[in-house]
Symmetry: C2
Subunit: 342 residues, 2 copies
């Protein structure tokens, strides 16, 4: 068995958790990349709040770090959408480094950003590396649901209801969820032709593709989640006045050529006291099925899936490989290097 | 695409449901086997209560049916334990016919019946066919739990609580659950050295093996479920007096060499009015996780898993292949023949 050598690419809230998990699972971290002036030049252990030095300094020149350290993989936690992720993932592939990311759109970007995805896929194939998007969607919103569907004789409709706490994922995600905006500003975003894809749509695209079905039509409704009294966003450190936006709910619906309908209601918002994450899926058909996670520690499971997927991504065939094409995610009782294919 | 040709081997309660599901999923049924004098010689459609003729007669000579019809697979629903299943599965393999069964012990029989399993494995390899045990345990008790474990950083303990209604599975299973016995008779069974393996143990063996862990110790506690007032078993068509056995609960615990502990409390009993099936699993570790199916139509999902697994079993490498080694079960919107490997 050999160690896996990884670059942590982005050391925000998620990157910090992933760093600890990787170190505890026997991954050798051979580089850390950030553009933040407050992080560059410091020890990764300090930036990630580990309480120990890692003897890895955070650096800003991504190409230099990727090119010089012979890593097996880069663990990329930078932003949510493929347009912003493209250059980061391109740099990884160009330097012959596999990449796993929790960028939400990267879960299944073939239909929402087909050109960028095809370009990354072609480059990854040429360079012999794999790019995969994972995170909370991987098991809880896609593979768990696909597995339950596997126990159905006939599926008419798949209906999911999920929620997550914006404050768990850092300021980048909170700004993408329009936390603190007026409802008027939010309405212009929601109505705009250039709004980015919903995470729900990428989730449903993965479910539909993984079932071998074809998309007939797509519908989206978006509604703001509004503060009923003054609220506080810890990740942005701002107070949100009554009547302002604390996040939003997307309801995405995909009808398939073959018949089954897939719908997902996804809420990402600042939470009230005592509010918890939801993961609740119903399958209507023969028979009716339902699966629920009564309490989901989404912040942590986002990172555990990112890290536990590392060997699957290294082992996968080259290209942009989505999680519906990977083996089912499995617990890793041994150091991650033990799961590398011979 | 070609049709899958199947033999239905055993046409009791489960075989009847499986027959309908197979026909609706484009499987060609080329033979039906039963030892029951009340079924032999009749049309399978009548025996299975389909309301239509299938033009397949139920026959009693298993070897002749398996040998003459060139089936791809036999769907075997005869009994629960490998000692009783051995000859049926041997006949399938000997005739170069793949076999999928919902015999509970067949889910993972390598530790409870190692010699019989090794013999079947060797014969299946020699004849180039696959034998697999599936059923409710496949997704709900093994692969669903393994998938959730895949989102854990560290697993200390996996604790499952499941139940099923004895009356859903026919008289053979009800007798195996000792329905109607006195508590004294049951106590002799539970204390006996020759009692068959618990289904819980086979389930946990599959989970442990699928996680790459090794069994350190096994513990079992069995307690009778007792009628608090007179109850009725529909599958046996008997009244059960107050104080007599309506089924039982097994609590199996496996400790592993590597640390994680697996425990399963499984109850199979005649149900009271309004009682429903339970499937509830907790994973204690980092983080704590839980998955629940609020209502499980176990009778149907037992058969859907049996049928949806057919292409996986035909596609698998030869031998006795357990479900932890198969691809994740998936919904089959197209005729089952579409899922055969090229």
């Amino acid at each position: 068995m050999r160690n896996i050598r990884a670059i942590i690419y982005g050391v925000g809230r998620m990157g910090a958790i992933a760093t600890r998990l990787m170190l505890e699972q026997g991954v050798e971290i051979v580089g850390a990349i950030s553009q933040s002036p407050s992080k560059v030049g410091r020890d990764l252990g300090d930036v990630a709040g580990l309480g120990v030095k890692t003897n890895v300094l955070v650096e800003s020149d991504a190409a230099a770090v990727l090119g010089a350290r012979a890593p097996d993989i880069a663990v990329v936690t930078v932003s949510s959408y493929l347009a912003e992720m493209y250059e980061h993932l391109r740099l990884c592939a160009d330097n012959r480094v596999n990449a796993v990311t929790l960028a939400e759109e990267a879960l299944y970007p073939w239909r929402t950003s087909p050109v960028l995805t095809a370009q990354l896929d072609a480059l990854a194939r040429e360079r012999g590396v794999t790019i995969t998007g994972t995170g909370q969607q991987d098991v809880y919103w896609v593979n768990l649901v696909a597995l339950m569907m596997g126990t159905a004789h006939r599926v008419d409709e798949v209906v999911g209801r999920v929620s997550w706490n914006v404050d768990d994922y850092g300021p980048e995600v909170a700004r993408d969820q329009h936390v603190g905006e007026s409802v008027e500003t939010f309405a212009r975003f929601a109505a705009g032709a250039d709004r980015p894809p919903t995470f729900g749509r990428n989730t449903l695209d993965a479910l539909v593709a993984g079932s071998g079905l074809r998309v007939a039509s797509i519908e989206n409704t978006t509604r703001a989640a509004v503060a009923e009294s003054e609220m506080y966003s810890s990740t942005l450190d701002i107070k949100i006045p009554t009547g302002h936006v604390v996040g939003f709910t997307d309801i995405d619906t995909i009808r398939t050529v073959e018949g089954p309908v897939f719908a997902l209601e996804m809420t990402g918002s600042v939470y009230k006291e005592g509010q918890g994450d939801i993961n609740d899926w119903e399958i209507h058909g023969e028979p009716d099925l339902r699966v629920v996670n009564p309490a989901v520690p989404t912040q942590v499971t986002t990172c555990t899936q990112l890290v536990n997927r590392i060997p699957d991504v290294i082992n996968a065939a080259p290209g942009f490989v989505t999680v519906d094409q990977l083996p089912p995610l499995r617990y890793r009782p041994f150091p991650l290097g033990a799961y590398l294919a011979r």
